[in-house]
């Protein structure tokens, strides 16, 4: 049981896809202009990640290794398109914001990475937990980056504005370079915390 829990928790901190593995950075930089965008993108990715991890784990003995990459891409693309269509139908407001990023999930290397490195070698349950942990790790990272950029760049949080309309904000943080700076500072902060924790234990 402890082993299974480890598969879930590793994605949250020790193997966090954004801050530790540093994979899937394209959507990290592109969609995190607000906290809500980050949260939506994170949850959409989590859903696709869990579904594709489970399915690939189930099919791991069926898929011949020579055609495994095309198979993974078909599975991931199918789930991404389903998320795209369902979100368009039932969450049109969120889809308006995230619409152009959903197809990017297909080429997000977190999904290929977990399919290749984990789901194709492990049981269904641990693959699902791995997908859930990695997805939630991705989600909190995106939400935090989005929140910082939204506070500094637009003077609001989760679309609630707390400064006057005319107030000057750091527009730089709304733009992609601001995302690079934010991610860099957060990685540094996370390394400091990890180093302290190691020293303490």
């Amino acid at each position: 049981m402890g082993g299974l829990m480890k598969e879930f928790f590793k994605g949250l901190w020790n193997d966090n896809p954004t801050f530790r593995l540093q994979i899937g950075l394209c959507p990290v930089l592109a969609v995190t202009s607000s906290a809500l965008n980050g949260l939506g993108m994170g949850l959409a990715t989590t859903f696709v990640l869990i579904c594709s991890s489970v399915l690939i784990s189930l099919l791991k003995n069926v898929i011949p290794s020579k055609v495994r990459i095309p198979c993974y891409i078909i599975v991931i693309a199918t789930f991404s398109t389903i998320v795209d269509l369902v979100m368009h139908a039932f969450l049109p407001d969120l889809h308006r914001v995230l619409g152009i990023f959903i197809p990017l999930i297909v080429v997000n290397c977190i999904l290929m990475g977990r399919a290749e490195a984990f789901a194709s070698k492990n049981s269904v349950v641990s693959s699902a937990l791995d997908g859930l942990g990695m997805g939630l790790g991705f989600t909190w990272a995106l939400t935090l980056i989005g929140a910082i950029r939204e506070i500094l760049g637009s003077g609001s949080i989760f679309n609630h504005k707390f400064v006057a309309d005319t107030a000057a904000t750091f527009g730089f943080f709304s733009l992609p370079p601001g995302a690079f700076v934010t991610v860099g500072i957060l990685i540094a902060g996370m390394n400091i915390i990890s180093a302290r924790l190691r020293k303490a234990s």
């Binding site: 202009s33 398109t81 309309d165």
Partner: protein
Amino acid sequence: MNESVRMIVVLTVIAMVSGGLLAWVNDWTGAIISENQLQAMMASIQEVLPTATRVERLSSSPSTLVEEDPDQAREVEQATTEMFIGFDDNDRPVGYAFVGEGPGYGGAVRVLVGVDGASGKILGISIVSHAETPGLGSRIEEESFRSQFVGKTLNDPIALGRDIDALTGATVSSRAVVQAVRTGFEDASIAYERSR
């Protein structure tokens, strides 16, 4: 089973299952998506054309250019494919709304413009869709920017620096809205006059 046969079979089966699943989901969500889009459009029309109680879509080609110059006519038609006429309770036309498009910083900006039929004045504009930078270009959605267009007619310049102030740091996005409003304004007014 031979290895290459197995590769073909597995890949084919996976692709077929995926195709079937997507066809089913597309079928299921397609109707809801187009219904949502229609409702969103109707809500926007209500906003820019508040005097109308009933809205009808106009689909005919707006000008006589068809006979004279088919190529140009097609362009005009594309620019004003979406046009709506508003009627009051007594079924009298009170005004019209059209969708104009302008090139923004992150792709096309589509703007819905509502015009009063009698005076030819713009009653309001609403941004239908855009992909502008959040916090900069996305401020074209703010009331203070959009309200600058209210009261303008075809005789006004509707140009940045003349009667419309651009948003600070978002000149391209502002220009896209100006262009979107001007695109099709004349054709839409002609089409409206004709429809009465």
